[in-house]
Subunit: 140 residues, 2 copies
DNA sequence: CTTGCAATGAAAAAGATTCTCATCATCATT
DNA sequence: AATGATGATGAGAATCTTTTTCATTGCAAG
């Protein structure tokens, strides 16, 4: 995942794009909003415009470099596309995100789509719950 | 599903609430946005404020009368809660929504959540694809 | 009927994302 | 390396969805 990926996407290799891709690669939390990316870069002393962050993330999505998720909360989160598809589990208390993939579910989805005459192109499966952290348990 | 349901939810039985509940019951499309509800009521010659529609839909959700979905597109859609849980399939071309429920997937979800130490409280599964309509097929 | 308190609606505010447009940077070509 | 065409940037305005404010209205308990 480097500048060549930007070039291959038909995009010019610019400083903002390098910075954003670098942050997505090195940041500890894999799932970040546009606002997150913007603030983190500013905190790192980098200069960038918020409009550019939104634009570049959308371009990266179109290019297949990142994936956009619509978790609850009204704002999109992005993550670097590291090959394999996976689904998500989100803690409704602390927001922790776990990733998982289940072949049984994946297969059934394709079957169900076909049964309804749909040609599946994508899907979104998000499990909401209380994570293992005691502070996130019901009735803490 | 009548005025008693509103009362049972601890809400006063007001005209706006009766109108919104009535529309959700009788409207042909089950999945509607707040804006949809607002415009449809206005079209029917009913008087109502947009803020009230948002407020009431959220109250109905809290009361378990309606369910909110975050499909792609940046705005929430609501549907009257008619007993059974189900998941959704959305046509990426025409927006048609099909409902389905699959016990295999439902069971696997609970298992997976547990495997990850999560106590599942909810989930969202949306399959995106091209529906059976020829005009929605790839390469029309 | 009275009356308290919840509910309404218009308008303002907030939050997320996109658009506009003048300026600037990249990169293929000289 | 210099040039130039074209794409990219960023500040701010605009847009879109949703929430909040607050003066006014209307349920519903007594
Ligand atoms: Mn992920
Ligand atoms: Mn439904
Ligand atoms: Zn948690
Ligand atoms: Zn369709």
């Amino acid at each position: 995942m480097d500048n060549q990926d930007i070039r291959k996407a038909g995009l010019k290799v610019t400083l903002p794009r390098i910075k954003i891709l670098g942050l997505l690669e090195n940041n500890s939390q894999r799932h970040v909003s546009a606002e997150d990316v913007y603030k983190m870069l500013l905190d790192n002393g980098e200069e960038i415009g918020l409009a550019t962050v939104y634009r570049v993330l959308t371009q990266f999505e179109t290019a297949g470099l990142v994936t956009r998720h619509n978790f609850e909360g009204g704002h999109a989160v992005f993550e670097l596309d590291r090959g394999g598809h996976h689904d998500h589990m989100v803690c409704v208390v602390c927001g922790k995100v776990e990733e998982f993939i289940d072949t049984t579910i994946e297969k059934r989805q394709r079957e169900i789509a076909k049964e309804h005459g749909f040609e599946m192109v994508d899907h979104s499966l998000i499990i909401y719950g209380h994570c293992g952290n005691p502070k996130c348990k019901v009735g803490y």
